[in-house]
Amino acid sequence: MTAIPMETGLLLAGILFMLGLISVMIRRNIIFMLISVEIMLNAAGLAFIVAGSHWAQPDGQIMFIFILTMAAAEVSVGLALILQIYHQLKTLNSDAANFMKG
């Protein structure tokens, strides 16, 4: 019964972050892009938890709480923006919003 090696946890966080990054690049649906950002934030929080578990300190978990707070605020504002874009443009394609100026 040994603890999980730190490299494995960080590798998992890296894989999840890369999946989110790939998705945010290949998807054009703006809700999918928001979901991908959530995946990336979650992966970053996982890296903090892994580090905090490695040194047995509560600081990593506190950083995760802050990331959680930030994700909640970000998703509420992001969804409000998505609603506005959908009402203005009648589409969820993020390329349709390329004419915004100033």
Partner: protein
């Protein structure tokens, strides 16, 4: 213990791959919930049970439900009863169900060896009390900043999400009414 971690990690990666390859948003969200649950199990094996609970409550609960509400508000497709029936095919929910069943088996296993946190990862186990003491000790400024951030998020979401009503002056209102009347005739 290690095996639990590796199984949960592979479930997380698998579910995330399924999220980013789905075309239907609701199916993607179904897999996203599974991915968050798997990461919560990873937190549990890492000796962070409080964070596992927060992950389930905030990510898999609040955030995903918020996204589902917005998708419902947009009413993207004219899905009717037939569409709903088509969505409830077994091949659609069997994938997330299988993956979350793996997680459930892991949870039961972890509960079965009940003294898991005390013995298995005694070196890395950080309980909720230590987190709370640190959170309201040296990090109390961060808590206050989080409060400000959440307040800004609420105000911003309300301001951005409001539907702008078309405001017409009362003279123009009369003109509009006349125009409508003549159009009706």
């Amino acid at each position: 213990m290690e095996l639990t971690f590796y199984i949960a990690a592979s479930v997380a990666v698998l579910a995330t791959i399924m999220v980013i390859t789905r075309y239907n948003m609701i199916h993607a969200l179904l897999y996203l919930v599974v991915s968050f649950l798997a990461v919560a199990v990873v937190f549990l094996t890492m000796g962070a049970p409080f964070m596992a609970a927060l992950e389930v409550i905030v990510y898999a609960g609040a955030i995903v439900v918020l996204i589902i509400f917005v998708i419902m508000m947009l009413s993207l497709t004219r899905e009717d009863v037939e569409q709903e029936k088509a969505w409830l095919q077994p091949k659609l929910w069997i994938g997330p169900a299988l993956l979350s069943f793996v997680l459930l088996a892991e949870l039961v296993y972890l509960l079965a060896i009940a003294d898991m946190p005390a013995t298995a990862s005694a070196a890395s186990y950080v309980d909720a009390q230590a987190v709370g003491l640190a959170l309201y000790g040296p990090y109390v400024l961060g808590v206050q900043l989080s409060g400000i951030l959440l307040m800004a998020g609420i105000v911003g979401a309300y301001h951005l999400g409001r539907q702008k009503k078309k405001v017409i002056h009362r003279f123009l209102q009369q003109e509009e009414a006349q125009k409508e009347r003549s159009a009706a005739l």
